[in-house]
């Protein structure tokens, strides 16, 4: 699926894939950086600049100025993710939120707390999507933590459009000693 054919209107779009569609989101950042400013919220420590740079270079020699158009901020806890979205001003710059749910799956944060914070994030994502395209990528929780699926479902429901990029993994078989690794 070519990132360029994704309709980018002012709306909230969610991409779901086993690895949070990281490659596609990096490619999308590169394409957007060719022609304008954009914002990236890295929710899972995924923003490897090197593939983005290589991609930009395929289209233009103006690598430095393109990279300067990408404003990146990393969230290492779900509290930070929530705080960053709350403070983000709504303007015409597209927002890419990569692997947004990673910090919400953190086992040291209680599920109901994650849900509360995510609800706040969604409000702001919707606010921001009225002025610019907002694309959020997410992956399903790891197999041993099915109670966190509700976070993904909540995000999906809030989106104007949700794209599932690959079939999600089948539920793991339960054995005597727990789920298979």
């Amino acid at each position: 699926m070519d990132a360029l054919t994704l309709p980018l209107n002012n709306q909230l779009l969610v991409l779901i894939a086993p690895h949070a569609a990281v490659q596609m989101m990096l490619e999308l950042s590169a394409r957007l950086a060719l022609t304008g400013d954009l914002r990236v919220l890295d929710g899972g420590n995924r923003f490897n600049v090197y593939p983005v740079a290589r991609s930009v270079r395929r289209y233009t020699a103006e690598l430095t100025s393109a990279l300067a158009r990408i404003q990146l901020a990393r969230a290492f806890t779900c509290y930070q993710a929530a705080g960053m979205l709350a403070e983000m001003p709504a303007d015409a710059r597209p927002l890419l939120a990569i692997d947004l749910l990673a910090t919400f799956y953190d086992e040291s944060v209680r599920v109901d707390e994650s849900r509360r914070l995510l609800a706040g994030c969604i409000t702001h994502l919707q606010r921001l999507s009225q002025a610019a395209p907002v694309v959020v990528s997410a992956r399903p929780p790891a197999a041993p933590f099915p109670e966190r699926r509700v976070l993904l479902e909540t995000l999906q429901e809030a989106a104007a459009g949700a794209w599932q990029l690959e079939p999600l993994p089948a539920p793991q078989a339960q054995t005597l000693w727990g789920t298979e690794a």
Partner: protein, 751 residues
């Protein structure tokens, strides 16, 4: 009660309100005093929510005083409006706060989850084993408390602590202990564990008679004290483990937690009141420092002795920051909210880096000086004023802004470390302060080593990623300036690693020769720098897989004073079997005896001979089983292994024998022939000596030995041939006759 001077031993909340303080008096008495103490914490957020909280708190049964205030959160501009909550009941406050946070999760909270000793430290300057003066009434209620010394004292007064040690007669994981051994000064008492009632009665008598301040145990947290408590319940005979008659013990459960991709296991803990229990097997840094180090840790961090001995240095640093914040009217956030400010993608490449790590010039080098920045990252944090609230520094060594929280916290610690280090150089070997200084320095070192990482830690209250990146940025700059200084002064730079560089110059072999370089580096970087020593020779090792590839921080060498230093080789690894590490160490010491480059060749021959002897001992079964124990860490739950590692296989054996191993714990095992290839050491039966996989241990040994001898032209294959018994015995030829056509680095080295 007359005025009292003594040392503060323990401090905790009383259920009825206020605090209990235990003082070791100058007169030899141990006294329990009471002190009123006001707990203050804050809530911040939207006005409507604060009003709701106010109303909710007003309806509570607790006696609380509420008011509005403006305080400083350093991660935000200006002052923050807060709801101030005050209570006299320190014991109930944590519970109260939990309920508030559950009811009003949207609000921000400050000073809400701070340990009582830290609050006390901020108000009175107190700390564990602080020398104090107290005035109390006849009920022990303190009306005045003054702290008479500081954690930064180089030579604090010696506290006459009474120590009772308690241990089982064997490792409970291995076999069922038969006896309990108690020791005090030079007397030992043996109690049979079979006769339970006499054991409890005698132990109680001993505790009452000695009234120790410190209970030092082996396996106290995980086996000994829980077993004693079981016996107490079973026979209904009380045991005064805690000194406080109104309290039992505090029982903290065990657990494993995830930290930076590693699983850390924390055993259960049994903590006492009025008395300090330290379990030598469950203490955090016990291998690196002992009781004196643990006590120094408590003094500096402000954490209670029992806690300080058990928690990681990260918690220690956090405590120090909290005390500094409270003292300087800075709010202590409950949860860190501040996130990274946006940076461009290009900036990410520039700043998301660690220290500079160079590929060394591999091979053997002579007369090499090693130059080290002293505590580089903490020094940079202090001198360039790097803190979450200060701007990114413009230069090394000074700042236009008032000192931030981090420099205020670390400054005194860094000063004390440098002072002790300098003193260590001048103290004669017999000076009693030398041993104490060493133990204390170990505690300081760990705290300092941790503070940088803590700055970038996502959950650190006062952490900030930009500050962390500023430290590494200026660290790289400092190292580059050092390199430039060295090269301009005619030195060749052999290797560089984050905060140190190895340099040499023809004709330079004495410490004085390097002095001008040290001064120049200090001048250009404004950071303290020292000569670690001059190596008689040092070998930088290449990759095991490809000799063309240099590997940073993998070397060994001998200083001029004969001492040996090694990094990155087996004897430094925690999971190596002692046999491997010991032989490697012996070989290294053998090589170190060479006083001149010419003598080295003879020493290499000797080292190979030594290796041959030890391998023969292994094959002939003369190596004690204990020396063959490898300690493999279990990285995940047993069900998580697709192909079980040796550690996992050993853990499965233990599981079948009824012993569980948690992720993060180390499993001790011996490698055996055939399947399953391992025998867990803590099984009831010992492995059969005939089943030991001597071939595998030989391989491990050859690999470890070849790391040492590779710079001298000997590969693992060469060593295998040389140590093969038949050839070695029959052909007693000197080593260089065996070398291949390629000249070895030793021959290439021009002096």
């Amino acid at each position: 009660m007359p005025d009292l001077t003594g040392w503060l031993l323990d401090l905790y909340e009383e259920e009825s309100g206020g605090l209990a303080l235990w003082l070791v008096g100058d007169d030899g008495g141990r006294r329990r005093l009471r002190q009123d103490f006001l707990i203050i914490f804050y809530a911040a957020g939207p006005n409507a929510q604060l009003k709701a909280l106010w109303a909710w708190l007003k309806r509570r049964p607790e006696d609380l005083r509420l008011s509005r205030d403006q305080r400083r959160d350093i991660l935000q501009d200006g002052l923050t409006t807060v709801l101030k909550i005050e209570t006299e009941n320190a014991f109930r406050q944590p519970q109260l706060f939990q309920e508030i946070a559950r009811e009003f999760p949207e609000l921000d909270y400050y000073d809400a989850d701070v340990g009582i000793t830290l609050r006390h430290a901020a108000k009175y300057g107190s700390f564990p084993l602080a020398r104090c003066y107290a005035r109390a009434d006849e009920n022990g209620l303190v009306s005045e408390l003054r702290v008479l010394d500081s954690p930064w004292e180089l030579d604090p007064s010696r506290v006459p602590l009474r120590v009772l040690s308690l241990r089982p007669d064997c490792d409970p994981a291995h076999a069922e202990p038969q006896e309990l051994i108690a020791a005090h000064e030079d007397r030992e008492y043996h109690f049979s564990l079979e006769s339970e009632r006499p054991l409890l009665i005698n132990l109680r008598a001993l505790l009452s008679r000695l009234d120790p301040d410190l209970l030092l145990t082996a396996y106290g947290d995980t086996w000994l004290l829980p077993r004693l408590l079981e016996l107490v319940a079973k026979h209904n005979l009380p045991l005064p483990l805690s000194r406080d008659p109104q309290r039992g013990v505090m029982h903290k459960k065990e657990g494993s937690y995830f930290s930076y991709g590693q699983i850390i296991y924390r055993g259960q803990q049994i903590l006492l009141y009025g008395r300090c229990h330290i379990d030598g097997r469950n203490a955090m840094m016990w291998q690196d420092y002992d009781l004196d180090g643990a006590l120094e840790n408590a003094r500096i961090t402000g954490l209670p002795i029992q806690t300080a001995a058990r928690v990681s240095p990260g918690t220690g640093i956090s405590s120090m920051q909290i005390i500094t914040a409270l003292r300087n009217d800075i709010l202590v956030p409950w949860r860190k909210q501040a996130a990274e400010r946006p940076k461009t993608a290009a900036d990410l490449i520039r700043y998301d880096q660690g220290g500079l790590v160079y590929q060394p010039i591999t091979g053997l080098h002579f007369d090499v000086g090693m130059i080290d920045f002293i505590s580089m990252y903490p020094s940079i944090m202090v001198r360039s004023n790097i803190s979450p609230e200060t701007p990114f520094p413009e230069r090394l060594g000074s700042s236009d802004y008032p000192p931030g929280l981090i420099p205020l916290t670390l400054g005194p610690l860094l000063e004390k470390r440098v002072a002790l280090k300098q003193r260590a150089l001048s103290l004669p070997a017999w000076d009693p302060r030398k041993r104490l200084d060493k133990a204390r320095s170990a505690a300081h070192k760990w705290l300092l080593v941790t503070c940088f990482g803590y700055l970038g830690y996502k959950n650190a209250r006062f952490g900030r990623i930009e500050a962390h990146e500023a430290v590494t940025t200026w660290g790289r700059e400092a190292l580059l300036r050092a390199k430039e200084a060295a090269e301009e002064m005619g030195f060749e730079v052999l290797h560089m690693y984050v905060d140190g560089l190895w340099v040499k110059q023809k004709g330079f072999s004495q410490p004085e020769d390097f002095q001008p370089l040290l001064e120049e580096v200090a001048a250009r970087t404004s950071l303290p720098v020292a000569l670690d020593g001059v190596y008689r020779w040092v070998a930088f090792l290449p990759s095991r897989l490809d000799a063309r590839l240099p590997v940073p921080n993998r070397y060994f060498g001998v200083f001029q004073d004969g001492s040996v230093k090694a990094r990155g080789i087996d004897l430094r690894r925690r999971d190596s079997a002692p046999f491997i590490a010991d032989v490697q160490r012996e070989m290294l010491r053998c090589l170190a005896r060479a006083g001149t480059p010419e003598a080295l060749r003879g020493q290499v021959d000797e080292a190979v001979g030594l290796l041959r002897m030890r391998l023969r001992a292994l094959k002939e079964g003369r190596v004690p089983l204990q020396d063959l124990i490898a300690g493999k860490k279990l990285s995940k739950e047993l069900t998580g292994y697709r192909v079980p590692s040796p550690g996992a296989r050993a853990a499965m054996q233990l599981l079948e024998a009824g012993k569980t191993v948690r992720p993060g714990q180390r499993v001790r095992l011996i490698f055996t022939r055939g399947q399953p290839g391992v025998h867990a050491w803590d099984l009831p039966e010992l492995p059969d000596p005939a089943a030991i996989d001597t071939d595998y241990y030989t391989e491990l040994m050859l690999r470890a030995a070849s790391s040492l001898l590779q710079p001298f032209g000997l590969s693992e294959e060469d060593l295998r041939i040389l140590t093969c018994d038949d050839l070695g015995e029959q052909m007693n030829l000197p080593l260089h006759a065996w070398r291949r056509e390629q000249p070895s680095p030793i021959y290439l080295e021009k002096k």
